[in-house]
């Protein structure tokens, strides 16, 4: 049994955990690249990353400076918008704090410690960060990545495989799929800011595994197939959807409300597993657009399945009261 509100918190804790992990990884990949590039070029590429992470509006609103590490700061330590690593870590911590009584103590403690570390890095001023050549941001990125790894380690090793786990894992894998599709989009086109295949694989933590199969200079098409359709790679969208489907099946026996997202997850998984991906990727924008919106709808459906029914009419509609007629089920 799980409270609807707790299910919701765990779903979002999972999503934010994945988000913090992914942004930190992308920033770490980009920071390495920045050091070896011309300032303008580096800046363009960083802007492209901001776009891929869906933070265009926040970026404009934040009036980010022009220094080479300003974009990194925006992505790592700026808590004025919800898309930075520091904000995502805070959201993980707040959501886990709500369910602190039902998750392993270590999971809460890891999240709390990571939050404390990230907050102290944040308090170093932007000017100081710029002076040290992004040193502080780099250290926070390392801290964040390590923290995310231990969080997922504790989650995997000590959380009971109950409804709470199902929601948290579904949240993580949905967020991962959504970000993977968005990052793939940033490898399309011809401009100098387009990310090459290796960069896309590094962003998605798949470089090493893909190198063995695709060699050293994979083309976008091959990378896209790898990241969308690979059956063994826990970073591929197909793999993620398969797991989401399993988690929703775990829940479906008790919670009727997950029937809709479960169907949708199955349909989308089948699309990737049995669809003619080569043909579909002939028009990559259209295919990625479709996948992006289908995943967003799926995530919205899973979220909707956790929302408690609030009106009395709905409350009455959802349970039949057996028993002795005086109101108390026997």
């Amino acid at each position: 049994m799980i409270l609807a509100r707790h299910a919701d918190s765990l779903l979002w804790a999972g999503r934010y955990l994945e988000r913090a992990d992914t942004i930190a990884r992308c920033v770490s990949v980009e920071t390495n690249a920045v050091m070896h590039r011309q300032a303008t070029e580096a800046r363009l590429a960083s802007r492209r990353l901001v776009q891929a992470l869906g933070l265009q509006d926040e970026f404009v609103a934040a009036q980010v400076g022009t220094g080479p590490y300003a974009v990194m700061d925006f992505l790592v330590s700026d808590d004025s918008h919800p898309g930075s690593v520091v904000s995502a870590v805070q959201a993980v911590r707040e959501n886990l704090r709500i369910v602190r009584d039902r998750i392993p103590v270590e999971l809460w403690e890891e999240a709390n410690s990571l939050h404390i570390l990230m907050q102290s890095a944040k308090s170093v001023g932007a000017a100081a960060r710029e002076q040290t050549g992004g040193e502080v941001s780099r250290m926070s990125v390392i801290t964040a990545r390590r923290g995310c790894r231990s969080l997922s380690g504790v989650m995997t090793e000590s959380m009971s495989r109950d409804e709470g786990y199902a929601f948290m894992e579904a949240g993580r894998l949905l967020e991962r799929s959504i970000l993977t599709v968005e990052l793939l989009k940033s490898g399309l086109g011809t401009g100098s800011d387009v990310f090459d295949g290796n960069r896309l694989l590094a962003f998605t933590h798949s470089l090493q595994a893909a190198r063995r199969e695709l060699g050293h200079s994979p083309q976008w098409h091959a990378v896209a197939k790898f990241l969308l359709q690979h059956e063994q790679m826990p970073r591929s969208v197909l793999w993620c959807l398969g797991r989401v489907e399993l988690r929703l099946e775990d829940l479906a026996a008790a919670a009727g409300a997950v029937a809709t997202p479960r169907r949708r997850a199955g349909a989308l998984r089948a699309h990737l597993e049995y669809g003619e991906l080569d043909a579909l990727l002939a028009e990559p924008e259209a295919e990625l657009g479709y996948l992006g919106s289908a995943l967003a709808e799926l995530a919205a459906d899973v979220h909707a399945s956790t929302v408690a029914r609030s009106s009395f009419a709905e409350v009455h509609a959802q349970f039949v009261r057996p028993g002795d007629g005086n109101g108390r089920p026997q």
Binding site: L3, R102, I116, A255, F312, Q318, R328
Partner: protein, 489 residues
């Protein structure tokens, strides 16, 4: 070696560790010996370990109105408070006796015949005029008459070392989680101090409370009643404790909107639909509990909850209306209530209190107001208190006028010189004033949890032990009988 300061020879208060001649009391001999082996730097280092650990674990409390934003780590002083086994047995009996009588009193008021009022033990008008008196609670009975399942009784030790009851907390006493976390922290920071003592464990609270809560489930709840803790949410000052207790008991931690009442049954909103609830350990105040019966603007409560309680489908702990029995104006009558209901002499005396609506007591108090403590009945947390010996003539005259205008709202107490104990201040261990809040659990029977929360005023001479006002806490050891002999030898 860290300097362990004796209490001043002219100190009026009782010192827990040293007698009036400055000799270590036998009870504290071993721990004083241990601590005198640490220098100040070493003690600071261990203090750092505790602080860091509390921060990492998120063992915090929230200070309202603090611009720093809210969460502060729990303050714990390194030097533990010790209570001898024989001493504790006396306290334990006294507390069980007191809480038993208070529960009888509450049952008498709300579901009984008001016998204590009819027989003139407590004036009926005083009961009815109490802010904590709740007409909505009339006729709502509680299994085993356990109106107060969790009580926190504040004890102080006077200049002779006698424990006295300063205050009863029968509504939502908090602090038990810190008792348990203090012990855990002490164990980590001083792994070897346990070699000299056998200390009563404190880890059993979750089981103890759960058993009590199960025992007050409504008849018909079955043998595995569904228990929940109702919290106002993560911004409440005691949220850490709420989550801690839910974890220790293995029950759900819920907020008002997670519960819904339909036809006098309370349900939990889960992803599987609605699940009926049997027992609610609520950590929100009476007036927020049910917007239908109390404050209509409350968003923390559950509409219709009181109806469900009345229908007997759910038990809410602590019961509604307990505030009448921990009213400061009722406090002076509690010893008489013990005699009345139990036919026994009270084991723990009250702090001597004068009620202002009795002309004789008022006049006597007015004659020596500059030696006494004047307390408004309706306040808590130390607000509005006038300490006679520190007050100006004008302040005393004002207090006098206010008492005459509304005698129901004031009590006057003898000054209690709170006992002191060595506490880490800068780089020395200096005596600081402290109190003790033991917790008393009532289900089928009344049990006292060993020890309790020792709160300490960290400012020299201060009697304010409240954590929101800079007070600290101490791990509190009740020694097992064999531990005492060991410590004494």
């Amino acid at each position: 070696m860290a300097e362990l300061q004796r209490s001043d020879a002219d100190q009026l208060a009782y010192d827990e560790a040293f007698d009036r001649d400055g000799n270590v009391r036998p009870l504290y001999a071993a721990i004083v010996e241990r601590f005198s082996n640490f220098d100040a730097a070493e003690l600071r280092r261990r203090e750092g370990i505790i602080e860091e650990e509390f921060r990492r674990q998120g063992i915090t409390f929230t200070v309202y109105g603090d611009s720093q934003g809210t969460e502060r780590t729990w303050p714990m002083d390194l030097f533990p408070r010790l209570i001898a086994a024989t001493e504790w047995q006396e306290i334990e009996r006294g507390l069980a006796q007191r809480v038993t009588a208070l529960n009888r009193f509450l049952a008498d008021i709300y579901t009984g015949e008001g016998a204590a009022m009819a027989d003139g033990v407590v004036p009926a008008w005083l009961v009815q005029s109490s802010d904590g008196f709740e007409r909505n609670a009339f006729g709502v009975s509680v299994p085993h008459d356990a109106h107060c399942v969790i009580a926190g009784i504040d004890l102080v030790r006077d200049a002779e070392g006698q424990y006295r009851v300063l205050e009863d907390n029968l509504r939502n006493p908090s602090g038990i989680s810190y008792v348990i976390e203090n012990r855990a922290a002490m164990t980590r920071a001083f792994p070897r101090v346990w070699e000299d003592h056998t200390v009563e464990p404190v880890s059993q609270y979750g089981r103890m409370l759960r058993t009590a809560l199960e025992s007050v489930a409504p008849t018909g709840a079955g043998d595995k009643p569904l228990i929940v803790i109702l919290t106002p949410g993560i911004y409440n000052s005691a949220y850490f404790e709420h989550a801690f207790l839910a974890r220790e008991m293995g029950v759900e931690l819920v907020e008002g909107p997670d519960l819904v009442v339909d036809e006098h049954v309370v349900y939990l909103r889960t992803i599987e639909g609605l699940v009926p609830v049997d027992v609610i350990y609520r950590r929100i105040d009476d007036t927020f509990l049910d917007p239908v019966s109390f404050r209509p603007d409350s968003t923390l409560g559950v509409p219709g909850l009181l109806g469900a309680m009345r229908a007997g489908t759910v038990t809410v702990c602590n019961a509604v209306g307990n505030g009448v029995a921990d009213d400061k104006a009722i406090h002076p009558y509690v010893t008489d209530l013990i005699r009345y209901y139990l036919g026994e002499e009270p084991i723990l005396p009250n702090v001597e209190t004068y009620v202002m609506w009795e002309p004789d007591q008022r006049e006597a108090a007015f004659e020596r107001l500059d030696e006494l403590v004047i307390k408004p009945v309706g306040e808590s947390g130390g607000y509005g208190i006038v300490i006679g010996r520190n007050a100006t003539d004008e302040e005393l005259a004002n207090a006098r006028a206010e008492i005459e205008a509304d005698p129901r709202n004031w009590v006057v107490q003898e000054v209690v010189e709170l006992s002191t104990l060595a506490s880490m201040c800068d780089d020395v261990l200096e005596p600081r004033h402290l109190d003790l809040r033991p917790f008393v659990i009532t289900g089928e029977r009344t049990q006292v949890f060993p020890g309790g929360l020792t709160r300490v005023a960290m400012r020299k001479g201060s009697l304010i032990v409240n954590s929101s006002q800079g007070g600290g806490s101490k791990d509190t050891w009740v020694l097992a009988p064999q531990g005492e002999t060991q410590a004494a030898t």
